[in-house]
Protein backbone atom coordinates (compact mmCIF):
# COMPACT_ATOMS: atom_id res chain seq x y z
CA UNK A 1 0.00 0.00 0.00
CA UNK A 2 1.37 3.34 -1.04
CA UNK A 3 1.90 5.77 1.79
CA UNK A 4 1.39 9.42 1.00
CA UNK A 5 4.53 10.62 -0.78
CA UNK A 6 5.59 14.08 0.28
CA UNK A 7 7.16 15.04 -2.99
CA UNK A 8 5.07 13.24 -5.59
CA UNK A 9 5.96 12.59 -9.20
CA UNK A 10 4.38 15.14 -11.50
CA UNK A 11 5.38 14.18 -15.01
CA UNK A 12 6.76 11.20 -16.88
CA UNK A 13 8.33 11.34 -20.33
CA UNK A 14 8.41 7.86 -21.77
CA UNK A 15 10.47 6.78 -24.76
CA UNK A 16 9.60 3.64 -26.70
CA UNK A 17 12.15 2.53 -29.28
CA UNK A 18 11.08 -1.06 -29.87
CA UNK A 19 8.09 -2.56 -31.56
CA UNK A 20 7.44 -5.88 -29.84
CA UNK A 21 4.31 -6.53 -27.79
CA UNK A 22 6.23 -6.44 -24.52
CA UNK A 23 8.05 -3.19 -25.26
CA UNK A 24 5.02 -1.37 -26.58
CA UNK A 25 2.73 -2.55 -23.80
CA UNK A 26 5.26 -1.67 -21.13
CA UNK A 27 5.14 1.84 -22.52
CA UNK A 28 1.36 1.96 -22.77
CA UNK A 29 0.74 0.53 -19.31
CA UNK A 30 3.16 2.99 -17.73
CA UNK A 31 1.74 5.97 -19.61
CA UNK A 32 -1.86 5.02 -18.86
CA UNK A 33 -0.98 4.27 -15.25
CA UNK A 34 0.50 7.74 -14.97
CA UNK A 35 -2.51 9.64 -16.30
CA UNK A 36 -4.79 7.54 -14.10
CA UNK A 37 -2.83 8.78 -11.10
CA UNK A 38 -3.05 12.37 -12.25
CA UNK A 39 0.56 12.38 -13.46
CA UNK A 40 1.24 14.15 -16.74
CA UNK A 41 2.50 11.76 -19.44
CA UNK A 42 4.28 12.42 -22.71
CA UNK A 43 5.24 9.48 -24.87
CA UNK A 44 7.83 9.57 -27.62
CA UNK A 45 7.88 6.74 -30.15
CA UNK A 46 11.05 6.23 -32.13
CA UNK A 47 12.76 3.57 -34.28
CA UNK A 48 10.76 0.33 -34.32
CA UNK A 49 8.55 1.73 -31.60
CA UNK A 50 6.93 3.78 -34.36
CA UNK A 51 5.00 0.65 -35.34
CA UNK A 52 2.81 1.25 -32.29
CA UNK A 53 1.54 4.54 -33.72
CA UNK A 54 1.63 3.65 -37.43
CA UNK A 55 -1.92 2.95 -38.53
CA UNK A 56 -1.02 -0.04 -40.67
CA UNK A 57 1.05 -1.74 -38.00
CA UNK A 58 -0.31 -0.68 -34.62
CA UNK A 59 -2.63 -3.63 -34.09
CA UNK A 60 -0.28 -6.14 -35.67
CA UNK A 61 2.67 -5.99 -33.34
CA UNK A 62 4.21 -9.27 -32.29
CA UNK A 63 6.46 -10.79 -29.73
CA UNK A 64 9.74 -12.32 -30.86
CA UNK A 65 9.79 -16.12 -30.71
CA UNK A 66 13.46 -16.28 -31.65
CA UNK A 67 16.14 -15.18 -29.24
CA UNK A 68 13.77 -14.80 -26.33
CA UNK A 69 14.99 -17.15 -23.59
CA UNK A 70 12.27 -16.10 -21.16
CA UNK A 71 9.56 -17.38 -23.45
CA UNK A 72 8.15 -20.73 -22.43
CA UNK A 73 5.32 -22.87 -23.69
CA UNK A 74 2.13 -22.97 -21.58
CA UNK A 75 2.77 -24.93 -18.42
CA UNK A 76 6.35 -23.64 -18.26
CA UNK A 77 7.71 -26.19 -20.75
CA UNK A 78 10.84 -25.13 -22.63
CA UNK A 79 10.32 -23.48 -25.98
CA UNK A 80 13.40 -24.14 -28.13
CA UNK A 81 14.34 -21.17 -30.29
CA UNK A 82 14.32 -23.39 -33.35
CA UNK A 83 10.52 -23.77 -33.01
CA UNK A 84 10.22 -20.03 -33.27
CA UNK A 85 11.59 -20.19 -36.77
CA UNK A 86 8.62 -22.15 -38.08
CA UNK A 87 6.27 -19.98 -40.14
CA UNK A 88 3.16 -19.03 -38.22
CA UNK A 89 4.62 -19.66 -34.78
CA UNK A 90 5.34 -16.01 -34.10
CA UNK A 91 1.82 -15.05 -35.18
CA UNK A 92 0.30 -17.82 -33.06
CA UNK A 93 2.30 -16.95 -29.96
CA UNK A 94 1.47 -13.26 -30.41
CA UNK A 95 -2.23 -13.98 -30.80
CA UNK A 96 -2.09 -16.04 -27.63
CA UNK A 97 -0.42 -13.25 -25.71
CA UNK A 98 -3.01 -10.78 -26.91
CA UNK A 99 -5.88 -13.03 -25.88
CA UNK A 100 -4.35 -13.42 -22.41
CA UNK A 101 -4.11 -9.66 -22.13
CA UNK A 102 -7.67 -9.19 -23.30
CA UNK A 103 -8.76 -11.41 -20.41
CA UNK A 104 -7.14 -8.92 -18.05
CA UNK A 105 -9.01 -6.10 -19.79
CA UNK A 106 -5.86 -4.81 -21.48
CA UNK A 107 -7.04 -3.29 -24.76
CA UNK A 108 -5.56 -3.43 -28.26
CA UNK A 109 -2.92 -0.80 -29.06
CA UNK A 110 -5.21 1.74 -30.74
CA UNK A 111 -7.77 1.62 -27.95
CA UNK A 112 -5.04 1.81 -25.30
CA UNK A 113 -3.61 4.92 -26.94
CA UNK A 114 -7.11 6.45 -26.96
CA UNK A 115 -7.40 5.76 -23.23
CA UNK A 116 -4.12 7.59 -22.65
CA UNK A 117 -5.06 10.63 -24.73
CA UNK A 118 -8.54 10.68 -23.14
CA UNK A 119 -6.73 11.22 -19.85
CA UNK A 120 -4.64 14.05 -21.26
CA UNK A 121 -1.54 12.01 -22.16
CA UNK A 122 0.30 13.14 -25.28
CA UNK A 123 1.74 10.98 -28.04
CA UNK A 124 4.68 12.06 -30.20
CA UNK A 125 6.66 10.57 -33.08
CA UNK A 126 10.39 10.91 -33.70
CA UNK A 127 11.26 12.88 -36.82
CA UNK A 128 14.57 11.18 -37.45
CA UNK A 129 13.08 7.70 -37.30
CA UNK A 130 10.17 8.77 -39.52
CA UNK A 131 12.65 9.98 -42.14
CA UNK A 132 14.58 6.76 -41.82
CA UNK A 133 11.53 4.58 -42.32
CA UNK A 134 10.09 6.90 -45.00
CA UNK A 135 6.98 7.55 -42.97
CA UNK A 136 4.74 10.61 -43.35
CA UNK A 137 2.44 12.18 -40.77
CA UNK A 138 -0.53 10.67 -42.69
CA UNK A 139 0.82 7.18 -41.99
CA UNK A 140 0.50 7.79 -38.28
CA UNK A 141 -2.43 7.34 -35.96
CA UNK A 142 -4.69 10.41 -36.02
CA UNK A 143 -4.12 11.50 -32.46
CA UNK A 144 -0.33 11.68 -32.66
CA UNK A 145 0.15 15.20 -31.45
CA UNK A 146 3.31 16.07 -33.31
CA UNK A 147 6.48 14.88 -35.00
CA UNK A 148 9.44 16.03 -32.93
CA UNK A 149 13.20 16.17 -32.88
CA UNK A 150 14.86 14.86 -29.77
CA UNK A 151 15.57 18.45 -28.77
CA UNK A 152 11.87 19.31 -28.98
CA UNK A 153 11.08 16.35 -26.79
CA UNK A 154 13.66 17.24 -24.16
CA UNK A 155 12.26 20.75 -24.13
CA UNK A 156 8.97 19.22 -22.90
CA UNK A 157 10.65 17.20 -20.19
CA UNK A 158 11.54 20.02 -17.88
CA UNK A 159 9.97 20.91 -14.58
CA UNK A 160 10.09 19.69 -11.05
CA UNK A 161 9.57 16.01 -10.32
CA UNK A 162 9.77 14.89 -13.92
CA UNK A 163 11.24 11.56 -14.92
CA UNK A 164 12.37 10.28 -18.29
CA UNK A 165 11.74 6.60 -18.74
CA UNK A 166 13.19 4.51 -21.54
CA UNK A 167 11.29 1.28 -21.87
Amino acid sequence: MAAKEENPLKKVCIICAKGTIEDVYATLVMANGAVMEGIEAKVFFTFFGLDAITRKQMNRIKTATVGNPAMRAPGGLPFPTVLGLIPGVEAGVSAMMKSQMEKLDIPPVDEFLEMITAGGGEIYACKLAMDMFKLEKEDLWDEVKDVLTVGDFYAMCGGENTQIIFT
Binding site: M1, D105, I106, M115, A118
Partner: protein, 103 residues
Protein backbone atom coordinates in the same frame (compact mmCIF):
# COMPACT_ATOMS: atom_id res chain seq x y z
CA UNK B 1 -7.27 1.86 10.28
CA UNK B 2 -8.96 4.83 11.80
CA UNK B 3 -12.38 6.14 12.65
CA UNK B 4 -13.43 9.19 10.76
CA UNK B 5 -16.56 11.27 11.12
CA UNK B 6 -18.08 11.77 7.70
CA UNK B 7 -21.50 13.32 7.23
CA UNK B 8 -22.13 13.03 10.95
CA UNK B 9 -21.38 9.33 11.04
CA UNK B 10 -18.38 7.58 12.48
CA UNK B 11 -16.92 5.47 9.70
CA UNK B 12 -13.95 3.14 9.64
CA UNK B 13 -11.43 4.12 6.95
CA UNK B 14 -7.95 2.89 6.01
CA UNK B 15 -4.74 4.96 5.82
CA UNK B 16 -5.66 6.28 2.42
CA UNK B 17 -9.17 7.21 3.36
CA UNK B 18 -10.98 4.30 1.70
CA UNK B 19 -13.96 2.86 3.52
CA UNK B 20 -13.23 -0.41 5.28
CA UNK B 21 -16.82 -1.65 5.03
CA UNK B 22 -18.53 -0.93 1.74
CA UNK B 23 -21.85 -1.49 3.54
CA UNK B 24 -21.37 1.67 5.62
CA UNK B 25 -21.57 3.75 2.45
CA UNK B 26 -24.27 6.29 1.77
CA UNK B 27 -24.79 9.07 -0.76
CA UNK B 28 -24.12 11.63 1.96
CA UNK B 29 -20.78 10.05 2.76
CA UNK B 30 -19.84 10.05 -0.94
CA UNK B 31 -20.79 13.71 -1.27
CA UNK B 32 -18.73 14.65 1.76
CA UNK B 33 -15.67 12.64 0.61
CA UNK B 34 -15.84 14.21 -2.83
CA UNK B 35 -16.09 17.68 -1.36
CA UNK B 36 -12.82 17.04 0.47
CA UNK B 37 -11.21 16.46 -2.94
CA UNK B 38 -12.90 19.52 -4.40
CA UNK B 39 -15.46 17.62 -6.46
CA UNK B 40 -19.18 18.37 -6.42
CA UNK B 41 -21.05 15.13 -7.12
CA UNK B 42 -23.82 15.15 -9.73
CA UNK B 43 -26.28 12.41 -10.76
CA UNK B 44 -23.77 11.36 -13.41
CA UNK B 45 -21.16 10.83 -10.72
CA UNK B 46 -23.59 8.72 -8.73
CA UNK B 47 -24.37 6.57 -11.76
CA UNK B 48 -20.66 5.76 -11.98
CA UNK B 49 -20.47 5.10 -8.24
CA UNK B 50 -23.45 2.73 -8.36
CA UNK B 51 -21.89 0.92 -11.31
CA UNK B 52 -18.62 0.50 -9.42
CA UNK B 53 -20.37 -0.69 -6.27
CA UNK B 54 -22.31 -3.29 -8.19
CA UNK B 55 -19.24 -4.51 -10.07
CA UNK B 56 -17.23 -4.65 -6.88
CA UNK B 57 -20.00 -6.61 -5.16
CA UNK B 58 -19.81 -9.14 -8.00
CA UNK B 59 -16.10 -9.50 -7.36
CA UNK B 60 -15.08 -8.02 -10.72
CA UNK B 61 -11.67 -6.46 -11.20
CA UNK B 62 -12.32 -2.85 -12.06
CA UNK B 63 -10.59 -0.98 -14.86
CA UNK B 64 -11.33 2.38 -16.46
CA UNK B 65 -11.90 0.48 -19.68
CA UNK B 66 -14.80 -1.37 -18.06
CA UNK B 67 -16.34 1.84 -16.78
CA UNK B 68 -15.80 3.43 -20.20
CA UNK B 69 -17.83 0.63 -21.73
CA UNK B 70 -20.61 0.80 -19.14
CA UNK B 71 -22.63 3.20 -21.25
CA UNK B 72 -22.67 5.79 -18.46
CA UNK B 73 -19.80 7.82 -19.80
CA UNK B 74 -16.71 7.28 -21.95
CA UNK B 75 -13.18 7.38 -20.62
CA UNK B 76 -12.77 11.05 -21.43
CA UNK B 77 -15.96 11.75 -19.51
CA UNK B 78 -14.69 9.70 -16.61
CA UNK B 79 -11.55 11.84 -16.40
CA UNK B 80 -13.74 14.94 -16.42
CA UNK B 81 -15.94 13.61 -13.63
CA UNK B 82 -13.03 12.53 -11.46
CA UNK B 83 -10.03 14.69 -12.39
CA UNK B 84 -6.66 13.24 -11.52
CA UNK B 85 -8.03 9.86 -10.46
CA UNK B 86 -10.72 8.38 -12.70
CA UNK B 87 -10.67 5.02 -10.97
CA UNK B 88 -8.97 5.81 -7.68
CA UNK B 89 -11.22 8.69 -6.68
CA UNK B 90 -14.39 7.12 -7.99
CA UNK B 91 -13.67 3.93 -6.06
CA UNK B 92 -12.99 5.95 -2.95
CA UNK B 93 -16.27 7.85 -3.23
CA UNK B 94 -18.08 4.59 -4.02
CA UNK B 95 -16.88 3.21 -0.72
CA UNK B 96 -15.17 0.23 -2.31
CA UNK B 97 -11.50 -0.80 -1.90
CA UNK B 98 -8.77 0.92 -3.86
CA UNK B 99 -8.60 -0.79 -7.27
CA UNK B 100 -5.80 -3.30 -7.53
CA UNK B 101 -5.51 -3.14 -11.30
CA UNK B 102 -2.95 -1.39 -13.50
CA UNK B 103 -5.39 -0.42 -16.23
Amino acid sequence: MAQKTIAGQSIEVNDEGYLVNASEWSREIATEMAKEEGIELTEKHFEVLEFLRKASENGETLTIRKVGKSGITDIKGLYQLFPGGPLKLSSKFAGIPKPASCV
